[in-house]
Amino acid sequence: MRPEPTPSQTIGPFFHDALTGEDRSGLVAPDHPEAVRIEGMVFDGAGEPVPDAMVEIWQANRAGRYNDRIDAREDLPLDPETFSGFGRSGTDASGRFSFITVKPGPVPGPERSLQAPHIMVSVFARGLLKRLVTRIYFPDEQEANAYDPVLSSIEDADFGSTLVAHEDEGGLRFDIHLQGENQTAFFEL
C-alpha cells in the first residue's frame, strides 16, 4: 500500500535560529570570477515587504549539471566540493534576500528540449501554508528564454516576464510579489 503524504504547514515566524542562523546565501565566494549577486524583495498583496520569509534556491552548475547522482551526464563536469547548487536566505526587516552564485548552464527539458539557464526557487513564510515555487531566468539569455519550454508555455507574456531577473547595479534583481497586479508566476509541481 502506498503511504499517504504528510501535509504541509506554515514555516511560521520563528524559524530563524534553526534555519538561517548559519549563512547559506553564498553558493560561491564573492571574488569568484563568475560570481553574480541576485538580490530581491518579497512583497505581499498590499505591496508591503515581507520580513519573515525564507527563500531557497537550487540550480545546476556552470556546465548545466546538477549536484545529485540522479544527474548521470558524466560528460559534464561536476564540482560537488565547491558548488552544492543549494542556497538559503531569510528576508531581513526590509523584506530583502540575496544570493551570490554563478549562472547555471542550460539543462535538459521535456522531450529532448533544452531549458534556458534558470534557478529553482522555493518561498516559505508565515501565512504560506505550503511553499511557493518559482524560477529565476536570466535577462542576457533572450534567445534561450524564447525557446524555453516552461517560459513559452505561459500564454500571458507579461506574467511570464515576472520570471526574468533584471540587471541592477552590477548584479541581478528579482523581486517576488506573492499577490496583486504584479504577482510573480508560481508553479504547481
Partner: protein
C-alpha cells in the same frame, strides 16, 4: 504542454495539502497568490535535489536537552519515526531540521512577545540525518501552547516544526508535528487548513511505549511521507 490550471482542482491530493488561501488563518489573506499556478512539467530541475546538510552534523545536534550548561525545564521527550517516499521506500541520509517553543510556550526568537519565561538551557533548534532505513530520532522538551494574535483568544496547539529535503526538489516539505489529544486542535485554523480529516490525523504524533525510556522520557512516534522523485524516464534527459 498542459496550460495553466487552477489550484489542484482535479487532484486527489486536493484535500491533503492545505490551500494557499485559508481566510481563517488571517496571514494567508495578503500572501496567497490569486493568479492561476503554472503546471511545471517534470524535469531534472525538480526531480534532482539538493544534498544540503549531508556535511558534518554535530553529535548533540539531535539532543536539544544537552546543548547548554544545564538541563532545560519541562517534560523530556523522545521524538522518533521514519521518513518514507510515496512508494513506501525509506528516505536515507536526508536532513531533518526542527525548531520549537520551550516548555513554557516561548520561542527564543527576538520577535516572540509572549510573556512566558525563556529557558537559558533551551534554544529549541535541532537537526539530524535519517539513517539507512529512514529512521530519525530527537531528544527534546515537550513544547507548551502559545498565544498568537490571529483572532480573539487564539492559542496554537503544542507543536514541533520540521523541515525536510527528501531526495528531490519536489520532495521539500516543511510541516508541524502535533501531540495526541490536544484540546486546542478544534480552535486552530492552521491545523484545520488541511481539509481532509485523515490527513490532519497524520500530523499528530502517537505515544509510543516502545520508544519510551523507563525512568527517563516518554516517546512519541511521527512518520513522515514525502513526495518521491517519481519515475521520470531518464532516457529523455540524455
Amino acid at each position: 504542454m498542459r496550460q495553466q490550471s487552477s489550484e489542484r482542482v482535479s487532484d486527489a491530493n486536493r484535500e491533503v495539502q492545505p490551500p494557499y488561501l485559508y481566510p481563517d488563518y488571517v496571514a494567508t489573506r495578503l500572501r496567497a497568490p490569486k493568479k492561476p499556478l503554472i503546471i511545471l512539467p517534470k524535469t531534472l530541475s525538480d526531480t534532482a535535489g539538493p544534498a544540503y546538510g549531508r556535511g558534518p552534523i554535530g553529535e548533540l545536534d539531535n539532543d536539544l536537552t544537552r546543548q547548554h550548561e544545564g538541563e532545560p525545564l519541562g517534560e523530556r521527550i523522545i521524538v522518533t519515526g521514519r521518513v518514507l517516499d510515496g512508494n513506501g521506500r525509506p528516505v536515507r541520509n536526508s536532513l531533518i531540521e526542527i525548531w520549537q517553543a520551550n516548555a513554557a510556550g516561548r520561542y527564543i526568537h527576538k520577535l516572540d512577545r509572549h510573556p512566558a519565561p525563556l529557558d537559558p538551557n533551551f534554544s529549541g533548534a535541532g537537526r539530524c540525518l535519517t539513517d539507512d532505513e529512514g529512521h530519525y530520532r530527537f531528544v527534546t522538551i515537550k513544547p507548551g501552547a502559545y498565544p498568537w494574535k490571529n483572532h480573539d483568544n487564539a492559542w496554537r496547539p503544542a507543536h514541533i516544526h520540521l523541515s525536510l529535503f527528501g531526495e528531490a526538489f519536489r520532495s521539500r516539505l516543511i510541516t508541524q508535528m502535533y501531540f495526541p489529544g490536544d484540546p486546542l486542535f478544534e480552535h486552530d485554523p492552521i491545523f484545520h487548513s488541511v481539509r481532509d480529516e485523515k490527513a490532519r490525523r497524520r500530523m499528530i504524533s502517537t505515544f509510543d511505549l516502545e520508544a519510551t525510556r523507563p525512568e527517563w522520557a516518554l516517546g512519541y512516534r511521527f512518520d513522515i511521507v514525502l513526495e518521491g522523485r517519481n519515475a521520470t524516464p531518464m532516457e529523455n534527459h540524455k
